[in-house]
Amino acid sequence: MSEIFDTVIGLEVHAELLTDSKVFCTCSAKFGGDPNTHICPACTGQPGALPVINHRAVEFAVKAGLAFDCEINRYSRFDRKNYFYPDLPKAYQISQLDLPLCINGKVELSTGTVVRLNRIHLEEDAGKLTHDDYNGESLADYNRCSVPLIEIVTEPDIKSAEEAAEFVAKLGQYLKYLGVCDAKMQEGSIRADVNISLKRKGDEKLGERAEIKNLNSMKAITRAIKFEEERQAEIILSGGTVEQETRRFDDNQGRTKPMRNKENANDYRYFPEPDILAVTFTDEDIEKIRATIPALPKERKEKYINEYKISEKDAEVLTSEKYISDFFEDTVSIYPQYKNVANLFLTEIMRRVKETESEEIPFSPEDFAEVVKMADKNTVNRNDAKDIIRTMFEEGGKPMEIAKAKNYLVVEDNAAIADFVETMLDEKADLLEQYFAGKQNIFGFFMGQATKGLQGKATPRSIKEYLETAIEKRKK
């Protein structure tokens, strides 16, 4: 960021897993719901209630680990992290310390930086607090308590705010591809803690770091890091030392601030969770999970560029999300005109899915393949094809039905051509004479008249052919 300092960033990213039930009880893990309507004895810490691990939550964590080249601990244990807070009904969070599910992964960024992952572990989310200033009260809703989270912890390999943002975006993209997280930052399903320190260029020694907690948008991540870089640089340059502390980012003011109070001396007294058994894996278990991993963006992009001959930029867009890439691939498997499919997809579909944010294309790859084919074969003209796609988005319907209803089908009605052209030439005999006398541009006039008069009944090509022959005949 500067001439003097290098920025050293490590991230802890929390991602909520898309399971049906919570990680340690059978309550629904769905987002939302009225306060305290997804709760049971276990997730509200009732006396005597016990946690029971969800198979799919473990599977998803391992799946994420495999996608990021992690090693999987064949014996993975859960631990209790003890602290008091009103959003944590048991007063401990079940997490993993010494033997997490996944260790030693990596993520490559477009800058060439390889971010090493220290670990991915499984843990439970906390509840939600709303604060009532007027009454001086906080209200606790435990619906989110025990929703499964994975925490992805990086080594301090990230060098800038941009890299941090790309890392989080890429993580979200991959987790969505894996189907383990919906990556909706606005709903808190991905959030990041940032550890940041500065180091004088050439120095080995890291400075003291600050931890910025709970950043829940890309913008917040970037802004918080940039603010922190400046703040720490100022302190160091004015001869001070950065304090090792936990800070939060104030979105309105665009600055980080020390957390006033976590009301805990930072001693979480981790110990092995005695209510839950450690999970063991066989090689077969791991391979079964690996087999559920779909082709990931990197692999797909390479295929699009090398086999489909699509530009890198377009391939990037087409692989940005799994449902997009899947739709594209399904379409080309039916109609393998890669570039033509890609072009209409990029101009007509991408624009609309971005506008609606619905992540749903309301028609099938078969339908889309048909539209591209119709345009290619001139069954409809290209602009009408685009309008068919618009109609399929807005009103639904099958491509052929729309084309018929809107009269877009290009018909070669030879009788109509003959009739129209012969009549025109009869009526405009004077102009024809002038053409024979050398006024070449009069052909264009005839062509224009005929195309207009024959719209929807013939293609310009057929009209031109007939017109040329007819004029030639009359020359004698």
Binding site: L50, V52, K90, R269, F271, P274, I276
Partner: protein
């Protein structure tokens, strides 16, 4: 004083109805409870309607072993809608919103619950005198303690104010009061009975178990409550369908381990004599006594207390006055609310153990205390494994002494803790142990002998205890 087996016969032959039987127990319980304080709550209304339902079931010919049998339940086992206090001010008015799995299973049999029994607060103690509701008394001598923490359950069985009872055992809490009250108590193999709905003290050690008038009765109850439970991951499918199946089987040629460290200093001479006499009985009946050694026993008390309290400090962190239970008034901050609720809601012994457990886990002390205790636990497991490779069961005293006077010991935690030396290893290792009466001291106070076996050999300890009980003449409690 009748066993479940005898009561079953009477009920099935219609010599008595469950309602009549339940009334008899309730009347006697209500008459004696003022002096004994064995029950915190007597639920006459619920008990009688359960008995009515049971009578119907019996009339329809659908009686199961515990149908209509009046039981007492330790007050740390949740029964939906029935006040469950853990003998603590913290839960003085707490009504659980669900049934413990053990209760669900007893419900399936149509058992009757007379009430909830007194105990040490949160099961932390060996005298039951840390109860917020005042300590229960020993039916053999009401100036003495009934032991603990399941003191109310043991006293209720001994005083014949229930047919049998459920207790819980974290470091001896079923066996030691059974020994003090002259009844039979079984701590099953860890994982045999679901802990779901047992208000946790130390999760890796806690186990629900029966206290009854005979080892066979213990087996009948265990048959009902055992089994893998989807709500408790640490519960296991034991593969045993009848824990009384070995009752009456010969013990000829069986090997009985006698760990010498259990008969050393600190064990009363009268206790030793009685336990040796029990050993002699087995020897005379064809078993072979084998002296063995558990050298690590000297670390038993410290490692047990470190682990149990570490877990307890975390398990009891949920009591904060927010979700249920005692809430301090007029707190101005969350921090103040929970600190005051916890200070005011917990008794002194509970607070001591929370502090000790917090200490053992805190930064800088974890390796020296918690981790060392874990290592000792693993060593215990090894030493016991070696014993059960060559021996069938192990015979030990249940407690170093008979029941002491209510005025003794209670205020000296160190002395109290040391008295647990005979019982804690069974929990640390997770093996089944039964305590059954084997004699009485010069004051007529009962003495118990403990029989342990390898994991999931609960039927074997019942067999040995039953074998001993069949020739032992019990002296009834004086109350």
């Amino acid at each position: 004083m009748k066993t479940i087996k005898e009561l079953r016969g009477m009920l099935d032959k219609k010599e008595i109805s469950s309602v009549e039987l339940t009334k008899e127990y309730l009347d006697r319980a209500e008459r004696l409870n003022g002096e004994l304080n064995a029950y915190i709550t007597i639920s006459r209304g619920e008990a009688l309607s359960e008995a009515e339902r049971a009578d119907k079931k019996i009339a329809e010919g659908g009686a199961l072993p515990l149908t209509g049998i009046p039981l007492a339940i330790k007050d740390n086992i949740c029964i939906e809608g029935v006040r469950t206090t853990c003998a603590s001010k913290m839960l003085e008015n707490f009504n659980p919103i669900y049934n413990a799995t053990a209760i669900e299973k007893l419900n399936e049999q149509g058992a009757v619950y007379l009430g909830k029994t007194n105990m040490d607060e949160f099961a932390m103690g060996g005298s039951s005198q840390t109860s917020y509701f005042g300590g229960p008394k020993n039916p053999y001598d009401t100036e003495r303690v009934p032991g603990g923490s399941s003191g109310g359950s043991a006293a209720a069985v001994a005083a014949d104010i229930c047919a049998a009872a459920l207790g819980s055992d974290t470091g001896g809490s079923i066996r030691q009061p059974s020994s003090f009250c002259g009844v039979t108590g079984l701590k099953p193999t860890y994982g045999t009975v679901s802990r779901y709905g047992l208000i946790a003290f130390a999760s890796s050690l806690d186990q629900i178990g029966p206290i009854a008038n005979s080892a066979e009765d213990c087996g009948i109850i265990l048959n009902a409550i055992a089994g893998r439970d989807r709500h408790d991951q640490t519960s296991r499918c034991t593969g045993v369908s009848d824990y009384t199946s070995l009752v009456g089987g010969s013990i000829k040629g069986k090997k009985i381990a006698m760990p010498k460290e259990f008969f050393g200093e600190g064990i009363d001479d009268e206790v030793k004599e009685c336990v040796f006499a029990a050993a002699k009985f087995f020897e005379e009946n064809g078993a072979e006594l084998v002296e063995v050694s558990i050298p690590t026993l000297k670390y038993a008390v410290s490692s047990y207390y470190l682990l149990a309290c570490a877990e307890a400090s975390s398990n009891l962190a949920r009591y904060d006055g927010v979700k249920y239970g005692y809430r301090a008034e007029d707190a101005e901050s969350f921090d103040e609310l929970i600190k005051r609720s916890r200070y005011e809601g917990f008794g002194r012994e509970v607070k001591r153990r929370i502090l000790l457990g917090t200490y053992a886990l805190s930064s800088g002390y974890y390796d020296a205390y918690y981790k060392k205790a874990m290592a000792v636990r693993q060593q215990f497991i090894k030493e016991h494994k070696a014993i059960f490779e060559k021996c069938d069961v192990m015979l030990t005293p249940t407690a170093p002494t008979v029941a002491y006077k209510c005025s003794e010991n209670i205020d000296d935690p160190v002395k109290m803790y040391l008295a647990d030396v005979c019982t804690v290893t069974s929990n640390m290792v997770g093996i089944p142990t039964v305590s059954t009466p084997c004699g009485y001291d010069k004051n007529g106070m009962p003495i118990g002998v403990s029989i342990s076996a390898n994991h999931f050999e609960d039927a074997k300890v019942i067999q040995f205890a039953d074998c001993f009980e069949k020739q032992f003449s019990k002296q009834a409690a004086r109350i």
